[in-house]
Amino acid sequence: AARMFLRLLSYIHWRVANPKWRRMTCSQQSTSSTAEPHVAALPAQAQVVICGGGIMGTSVAYHLSKMGWKDIVLLEQGRLAAGTTRFCAGIVSTARRASIELKMADYSNKLYEQLEQETGVQTGYMKTGSISLAQTQDRLISLKRIASSLSVMGIPCEIITPKKVAQLHPLINIHDLVGAMYVPEDALVSSANVSLALATAASRNGVQIHERTSVSHVTVQKGRVTAIETDRGQIKCQYFVNCAGQWAYELGHAAEEAVNIPLHACEHFYILTHPLNEPLASNLPTVVDPDGRIYIRNWQGGILSGGFEKNPKPLFTEGRNQLEIQNLQEDWDHFEPLLGALLRRMPDLEALQIMQLVNCPESFTPDMRCIMGESPTVRGYFVLAGMNSAGISYGGGAGKYLAEWMVNGYPSENVWPLDLKRFGTLQSSRTFLRHRVMEVMPLMCDLKVPRWDFQTGRQLRTSPLYDRLDAQGARWMEKHGFERVKYFVPPGNDLLDLGQSKTFYKPDWFDIVGSEVKCCKEAVCVIDMSSFTKFEISSTGDEALESLQYLFSNDLDVPVGHVVHTGMLNEKGGYENDCSIARLSKRSFFMISPTDQQVHCWAWLKNRLPDDSNLTMEDVTWKYTALNLIGPRAVDVLSELSYAPITPEHFPSFFCKEMSVGYANGIRVMSITHTGEPGFMLYIPIEYALHVYNEVMNMGQKYGIRNAGYYALRSLRIEKFFAFWGQDLDAFTTPMECGREFQVKLDKGMQFVGQEALLEQKQNGVYKRFTMFILEDHDTDADLWPWWGEPIFRNGRYVGKTTSSAYSYTLERHVCLGFVHHFDEKTGEELVVTTDFINQGEYEIDIAGHRFQAKAKLYPFSSFFTNRRRKDEMELSGYQGE
């Protein structure tokens, strides 16, 4: 079985490789009996040790060495490119949904194209193009959305008719197709050879490569990587990069302090055939038929075809290790549905002779996105793994971003969607991973409609009110393992149908959420927001205040009982986090951050707070249940439940008071709602949660109280032009760019992180601007709904993408939020975006290829705020806009 792959590996090219490197790699081919007896000794120390000689490890080594880091050792337990890399199908496809993935794939494609010329190693690069087929209208919509993204990235691509498909590929049965997407610059490579080429170039740049060396342990001292242990001795190092593919999870646990890398391997099958009578041309496009769950590429005159079945087979759950992936069982019965799909797509292949069914494990992650970045607990420990079957497409770009991360402190693009820190220890249960990847692998081909949720690995973290809310018709989604309510299905509605219809158009919960929004506007609603990340930071002296003043951009030296909305910025002024901080006492602070900040924010603060025993930080997320009382009558409900005066005079906006509600004492009440609507957040010690909830609901009855979910919250905050971190804000967005200069106190009398960058922006202007768009000619019932990631056009030219969108029940229009750039018409260079630039344009939003007129606004509609109850209106208006 392996014999054929020796051909794939093309040893001829191997020998062409740099003789210097051959000497250093001390590697032998298992087939060669005249192997060099000399094995080069491992160095005693190095700046960087990379573990894993697949496409990821070699790409990181390649890029690091290109960026000038030379003291690098790459270790491979078997032979280079002998794992998943060797077996993978070698398709370089840029048709990706997320923009960061798209950029990685595009870069990889360009890198591989010139790699042969650069290194002299044949990579088998062939620009064949790819055709993604649509059997249904919904699939075609999905492809059109991708096509829109590709086009604005400058990647050629077009939506084509079935007839055109037949012209591009003679074997395809087009009778059941409604259309397709053609990406002419997608390519094929020999993945193993690409990896070898990268290794060759890296070794020319001084990287030492050692095969047959496995890492057994990573030594951590004081939260930093200091050395690694191998079966051939120790290497002291400053940085360790875990590129161990499907073994990355286990390797992550082989350290003093475990690094959780949530991925799990699944068997993946593809078939190889002998050549056709008239061998297929090597430039024939690759065919992806997601509705049939298969891909088909030409391979040595025959075909290579595999897919992503509905019933995947996870493996190595118990963590069996092995040197190289070989001798995994072929399972024809398992492959039958995919073979059926292949023959339906290309009926003429019936008579084609089978060569082999290959079983090649791939690793998958809990959210279908790869894992990169630095460990939140061990500094200097980097990870790049979990490619979800797209290792070759991402390899070049992912390696580049990780190298930038290590050398510059952060990559040149926002990689938060891929950041290891989006996961915590909660995602590293093997049972969770096993169940989740069984859902993720079929999802590779499933239609992804807006707002889909994972079904496996649920009900892990829940609010104490979960059962109460569930019994009242709550429908749930999950964030960072926490169950959150989407909306409440009123009794009497057909429960089964709701939430099951998948659509790109108006969803079935439209009216339900509408009535929740109405109740927030006119009466009062309760939303359980317990998932928020909550930290307490306190000190014996002024250490807490001093540190926080340095780490946060707003002025935290406010009177006790005030709440401050502030960004946690990086050196470039970008948002690492966006949070609310309440000053509980002179020396202690209560910090509320988005749910998925639990790991990232903790690591960020831990690494920057002074190592001072007088200063303590505690994660109290689990200690408090958070209820959001939204609406004009919230004040009435709360007044009846507490003897403390709640009137605006006694309890203005952005205040925090510890008080009793009902029988329960010690409830932290804050006059904020995260939506711009009047109301309160109640932080309730969990043992009182049910009591307080019951009291609020009972008392609220006469004010028309009802439960509401996050969809209502979303609609409210988006129509109020509220940016959310993780959706709209990221590490590459500054307060100046999203109209939040008022949350930055440049003159607070002391330095803070990001200050310089912000000062410069204040002087020179910003290069992108957060803008609100109201869709004008969009028919809510008949047109495709915006989601996020839709291109924005200004006067017919692409200026940016949306980051979130919602239907505003108040405006009765769709509202999209997004960033507008100003690209020079000739050079494409980014220019300063001025208010005039925003205001003097005609805008369109492109939803799956259809452009809708949109009105741009830099400030929210002031008419919304008839209910405002603040004394200092200056700050309010500032809070909403500028």
Binding site: E330, D333, E336, L339, G340, I354
Partner: protein, 451 residues
Amino acid sequence: FYLTPPQVNSILKASEYSFKVPEFDGKNVSSVLGFDSNQLPANAPIEDRRSAATCLQTRGMLLGVFDGHAGCACAQAVSERLFYYIAVSLLPHETLLEIEDAVESGRALLPILQWHKHPNDYFSKEASKLYFNSLRTYWQELIDLNSGETTDVKEALINAFKRLDNDISLEAQVGDSNSFLNYLVLRVAFSGATACVAHVDGVDLHIANTGDSRAMLGVQEEDGSWSAVNLSYDHNAQNKNEVERVKTEHPKSEEKNLVKQDRLLGLLMPFRAFGDVKFKWSIELQKRVIESGPDQLNENEYAKFIPPNYHTPPYLTAEPEVIYHRLRPQDKFLVLATDGLWETMHRQDVARIVGEYLTGVHHQQPIAVGGYKVTLGQMHGLLTERRARISSEFEDQNAATHLIRHAVGHNEFGTVDHERLSKMLSLPEELARMYRDDITIIVVQFNSHVI
């Protein structure tokens, strides 16, 4: 509230039983590979019984299902006794002599039957002496009657059925000095039971049926699909011949009262049965036996009640209808089941589900291309064929259990719906009987290599 799949399985599997005919030299020379049986109660206690045994003094295997009514006493007695009557009827003269001689001289008796019993299938200890004496009287009569002819299976089956029913009737009339036994024989006689029994000996298959249980042969057609062949006729109002038979046995004046509301005399669903002396004895006999019987019987309203329009008994017989079938290679299995199954499933579906189950279980060896030349089309054909065979539910190790799962849990699409299954199984005792009947199934698998 729903039962979890493991809970459902433990309920379904509580009574399952499998028997594999032992192999010699790695070969099974018997025409029967083995059988799976199971039962699911709806009544409490269940009124169905089942039996399986290998004849030791003659060749062949006996399998039967018995559906009791008005209690389980009759079905229990028939399940214990009928196979002995059949086996004895089949025994050659010399063997009968040998046995009688052994009993006479107090020597150890040659074993006649090897039973294949689930732990729940019990035999009544108290009545064994009484039953044995009746059986002995039967073989003594057979010895006296020695015709010298070789025993015809069909005749032996008919004789055994009739003789046992006769003995049940006689024992009740005679009574017993032991009050427990006295009450038992009366309960046996006043309750009833249908019987569907298969006798398999090589390629010769006989089905003797009394009542509305059913025997069905599963046949695999050349294209691999499954079809069903009936090997019994239901003795009930739906069977025209049976209605005709009853009518010819009674005066014309009774004709319109014989079958009412699809029941015999408006009361009994099966038209043939063991026991049920209320439909066999004269009114005088019934009254005499009940009056002299124990108080419990006197207080039993059912026993005391005389069927209306009761003029010319007997109205009921235990005589079976016997069907002979010579097994062919395409005959893969036999299903014996009480009406609880046939009420919910069509025989064609039964044939398909069992067929796919049995072949699926046997075709799980993985395939490999190896060095052969195989085209994509050939491979696909092979795989789809295997898929068609492999049933979705491997969880059942027992074909009868698998069938019960379908019978109770199948939805309108013909697939097993866990929710429905769970609901049906969690019905309280008093409701269960309204939604389903007791189900008892035996699936006999034939050995195509021998046939």
